[in-house]
Amino acid sequence: MKKNMLTGICEEIIFSNFFKSHAKTLRNYLLYKYGNEEQAEDVTQEAFIKLWENCANVPLEKAKSFLYTVANNTTLNQIAHQKVVLEYSKKSPGSHLDSQSPEYLMEEEQFKVKLQKAIADLSEAQRTAFLLHRIDGKKYHEIAEILGISVKAVEKRLHGALQELRKKIDNFR
């Protein structure tokens, strides 16, 4: 029995809510992947447009998986992968630093810069998993869904990322 009214994600309210829940993460993920803001936004847009075009065939519970599958398979512009620019939030809980010595503070600043550089040198697989956890606060099973891998694989990537980061930072000395 065919219903004539729009159902599921074809309905604008549902689509809009879905967008609000998932668009930012998708765009950030793509940004970690490509390092290019424009590319990340374009692919995000394309993925949502494709989702809308196929809304009649994609049940709501499969929509996220559909979205990421399209996004991961979209090769729009052949922009070479660049290094994603990360910044430290100004609102960080750094109150304990105020009571420290200037030398200590300078060392910490240097560490933070080394960390930024080391993250940029990570492989795409490790970098995307790491940043989705640290910046977007995604749980391991969520990261697994986004990357299309198992939770165990996510753990391996994060373990590997931390190892790499430590090695690089300690070698910077």
């Binding site: 803001e37 990360l86 910044e87 560490f111 960390l115 994060l158 931390l162």
Partner: protein, 298 residues
Amino acid sequence: MKDDTMLARWLNGELDEKELKAFMASPEYDTYRKIKEYSAQLTVAEADMDSLYARILDNRNKQQKKVRTLSPWLSRIAAMLVMALGITYFFYTTNTTTQLAENGQRNEFLLPDNSEVVLNAGSKAEYRSWNWEDNRKIELDGEAFFKVAKGQTFDVVTDLGTVTVVGTQFNVKARGDRFDVTCFEGKVKVTTAKNEILLLPGESIAFEKGKTLDAPAEDGAQPGWITYDTYFAAEPLANVIAEMERQYRIDIELNAQVENTYVGYIPMNDIDTALELINTNYHLKSEKAGNKIILTLE
């Protein structure tokens, strides 16, 4: 076994007390602690999600608009054209060719794949020439001799059953309640409501009212009627007379009760000999009355 997930579990706060103590005692722990702390402070440039959403909606509206810009007049013409094409195509593909052989006549013709068909008198055949090679199916009412060219299966469909062949020569007779098939060359499969039988050269099958008959087969490379020497495989006299009427284009009235069936040949180009054979076999005598021949007991 190498532990390649320990750091991830630590990051997630999943290490048990023992593991955690051991890790915290290691020299690298300090670096890891700082990595964990500072990486949590990282941010990435924010995107304008509202305008991104607006662009997506815009795209959807554009798609819908595309459908609406076709003017109603133009779409009416298009619809009529499509219908006209569809109807023409329909007639073209379902167009059947009909071949007839009147009484006293026969009709020899070729099918699109050069298969030969000889229609006996008082018979009709119908087939669709479109896409013939992939669908060789011919409907027969009456009798015909087939010389089928090599190719896909070839079906002769009658009211009494279907004959399926692959590159053979065979005869099919479907008249009234009587269904006869004789294979002269190749293999022939005969399917009726109740039976399925495969015929080899020299074999034949006969059904009377759906019942299989034990009827002797014809000899030769083709059916006798092709050379006007028609063979009857245990058929009632009424059937023999009906065939004579078709061949000679005369009326024959049988005013006698006869039981035996006829097995043998009757000429269809020599009425006198034909009548003589009938009379001798059934102890009858013939009389001419105008355009009719009346048969009575001797």
